[in-house]
C-alpha cells in the first residue's frame, strides 16, 4: 500500500483540535460534577426506605440505563422542545443529557458500594450509640468509597469517550472538530487518526492511574 501520509496539512488546524479537546474536557468534567450530585441524590432516594422515592429513583435510573446515549441526546435536543414548546440550546441539551446519563450509573455504583458493606458494621456502630448519620459518615462511607473508586473511575473514563456523541447535535467537541478538519483537508485518515490519538493521550494516564490505585487499595485490605 502506498498511501501518502500527510499529517502536516491536517495539523495546520491544530487550534481546532485543541479547542475541540478543551470542549470535550469541559463536557466531561461538567457532566461528572452534575452526575455525582444526581447520583448521590438518586442513591439517597433508593436507600431512604421510602417506597415512593425508591420507585421514582429506580424509574429514572432504568430509563437512562436502558436507552442509548445517542438516542437520549437526539430526544432531548429534537423531541423535548416540542413537548414543552420552545427550543433548547444544543449545549444545554448536551450537558443535561450527559449528566443525567452518567448520574444513573453513578447512583448504582454508590448504592452498590454502600450495600456491599457487611451489616455487622452498621450494628457495631449502632451498638456504641452512634446515630445513623454518624454510622454512615464515619463507618460505612469510608469503607464504601474505597470499594466504589475503581468502578467510579471506569465509568468516568467511559464518560469522556461518550462526550464524542454530542457532535451529532453540533456541539463543537473533539469529534466535531475532526470532522470539520476533514471537511477542509479531505484527509479523513489523518484527521480521524489525530482525533483518536488525542483521546488516547488523555485517557491512557487515567486508566493507568486507576490500575495503580486499585492495586494499592487491595494491598491495604
Amino acid at each position: 500500500m502506498t498511501y501518502n501520509w500527510d499529517f502536516h496539512s491536517v495539523w495546520q488546524y491544530y487550534d481546532l483540535f485543541l479547542w475541540g479537546l478543551w470542549i470535550s474536557l469541559v463536557y466531561t468534567v461538567g457532566s461528572i460534577f452534575f452526575g455525582v450530585i444526581i447520583g448521590f441524590i438518586t442513591c439517597a432516594a433508593r436507600l431512604s426506605g421510602w417506597k415512593v422515592l425508591d420507585i421514582f429513583a429506580r424509574c429514572y435510573q432504568e430509563l437512562f440505563r436502558c436507552t442509548p446515549l445517542l438516542v437520549q441526546l437526539l430526544w432531548f435536543y429534537y423531541a423535548f422542545p416540542l413537548l414543552v414548546g420552545g427550543s433548547i440550546d444544543n449545549r444545554l441539551a448536551a450537558m443535561l443529557t450527559l449528566s443525567l446519563y452518567v448520574g444513573a450509573f453513578y447512583a448504582e455504583i454508590f448504592r452498590g458500594g454502600i450495600v456491599s458493606i457487611d451489616k455487622g458494621q452498621r450494628e457495631a456502630a449502632a451498638a456504641i450509640g452512634m446515630s445513623p448519620w454518624q454510622s454512615m459518615t464515619r463507618i460505612i462511607l469510608p469503607q464504601a468509597l474505597k470499594r466504589m473508586l475503581p468502578s467510579f473511575i471506569n465509568q468516568s473514563v467511559i464518560q469522556f469517550k461518550n462526550t464524542s456523541l454530542v457532535s451529532v447535535i453540533s456541539v463543537a467537541d473533539l469529534a466535531y472538530m475532526a470532522a470539520v478538519v476533514n471537511g477542509q483537508t479531505y484527509r479523513p485518515l489523518e484527521s480521524y487518526t489525530v482525533m483518536a490519538l488525542l483521546y488516547i493521550v488523555m485517557l491512557l494516564p487515567i486508566t493507568q492511574a486507576a490500575d495503580w490505585i486499585e492495586k494499592r487499595l487491595r494491598v491495604s485490605d
Binding site: G120, Q121, A124, A127, I128, G129, M130, I139, Q143
Partner: protein
C-alpha cells in the same frame, strides 16, 4: 458459687425486659419473655439454636425492635426513637450505657485497634481525644493487646479481634455488657483467651448477659442461668440447678450434648 456470693440482688434492676415478644412475619421467635438484671449479675442464656436467645439479647439494646413488650433501663422505658422523648429514653441513650459484643467481632477494618476503641468515646460521648486514648490504652492493656494498638484488625487473630471488640465496648464505660455467642466464630484454641477476659470482667463486677454454648464456662461465670426453648424461658435457676444438675428431661438432654 465463687464470685457472686457477696452481692445483693435486692436493689432495683439496671435493665429489665417485660413480656417481650418478637415476630418475623407469622413466625413468633420470642413469646413473652421477662428478664431483670441487677448490678453485678451475670446471666447466661443457653438453649438450642433457634430458641431465640440471640434475638432476645439483641432486643435488650434495641438491635432488634421488639414486636411487643417493654425494655426498661434504670426504671425508664425505652422508646422507639433514637433520642429521649418525654419520659421515655431513646435507644441511642440505651446503647450508650449497654454495650454489645458480637459473634463476628464487627471491628471497623479501616481503623486501627486504638482507633476502634476510641471511636465511641470520641464520636458519641464527645470525650477529648487524649482522655479517650488513655482509657483505650488502659483497656487494651487489660485484654493484653496494648502492643497491637497500631495494627489493623485484619492482621489480628480471631481471639485478638474479639478481645479488641470487648475493649471497644468497655471504652463506653457501659453499665451492662451483652455478649452474643462471642466465642462461636473462634478456632477452638482461641476460645480460652476470650473467656479469660470475660471471667475477669465478671470478677470485677461487670453486669452481663451472655449467650453461649460453652456450658462449663456458663456454669463457672454466671450467677443465674436461663434455658430458652422455642421462644420461652423453659427453666431458670442457679448454674447448679440448670447445668450441673438439671432436673428437667429436655434440659438434661440439651446440657449433656454440650457439656464435655
Amino acid at each position: 458459687m465463687t464470685i457472686h456470693e457477696n452481692r445483693t440482688t435486692a436493689e432495683a434492676p439496671i435493665i429489665e425486659a417485660v413480656a417481650l415478644r418478637k415476630s418475623y412475619g407469622n413466625h413468633e421467635v420470642l413469646k413473652g419473655l421477662d428478664l431483670s438484671l441487677a448490678r453485678g449479675e451475670v446471666v447466661a442464656l443457653i438453649g438450642p439454636s433457634g430458641s431465640g436467645k440471640s434475638t432476645f439479647i439483641r432486643c435488650l439494646n434495641h438491635m432488634e425492635v421488639p414486636t411487643d413488650g417493654t425494655i426498661r433501663f434504670r426504671q425508664k422505658t425505652v422508646g422507639d426513637a433514637f433520642r429521649d422523648k418525654g419520659e421515655e429514653i431513646g435507644y441511642g441513650t440505651l446503647r450508650r450505657h449497654v454495650g454489645m459484643v458480637f459473634q463476628h467481632f464487627n471491628l471497623f477494618p479501616h481503623k486501627t485497634v486504638l482507633q476502634n476503641v476510641i471511636e465511641g468515646p470520641i464520636t458519641v460521648l464527645k470525650r477529648p481525644k487524649k482522655e479517650a486514648e488513655e482509657l483505650a490504652l488502659d483497656l487494651l492493656g487489660q485484654v493484653g493487646l496494648a502492643a497491637k494498638r497500631n495494627d489493623y484488625p485484619n492482621h489480628l487473630s480471631g481471639g485478638q479481634k474479639q478481645r479488641v471488640a470487648i475493649a471497644r465496648a468497655l471504652a463506653m464505660q457501659p453499665e451492662v455488657l451483652l455478649l452474643d455467642e462471642v466465642t462461636s466464630a473462634l478456632d477452638p484454641e482461641l476460645v480460652g483467651e476470650v473467656l479469660a477476659v470475660i471471667r475477669g470482667l465478671a470478677e470485677k463486677g461487670m453486669t452481663m448477659a451472655i449467650v453461649t454454648h460453652e456450658m462449663a464456662f456458663a456454669a463457672d461465670v454466671s450467677s443465674r442461668v436461663l434455658f430458652l426453648d422455642q421462644g420461652v424461658i423453659a427453666a431458670t435457676g442457679s448454674p447448679e440447678e440448670i447445668i450441673r444438675n438439671p432436673a428437667n428431661e429436655r434440659l438434661r438432654g440439651f446440657v449433656s450434648r454440650f457439656h464435655g
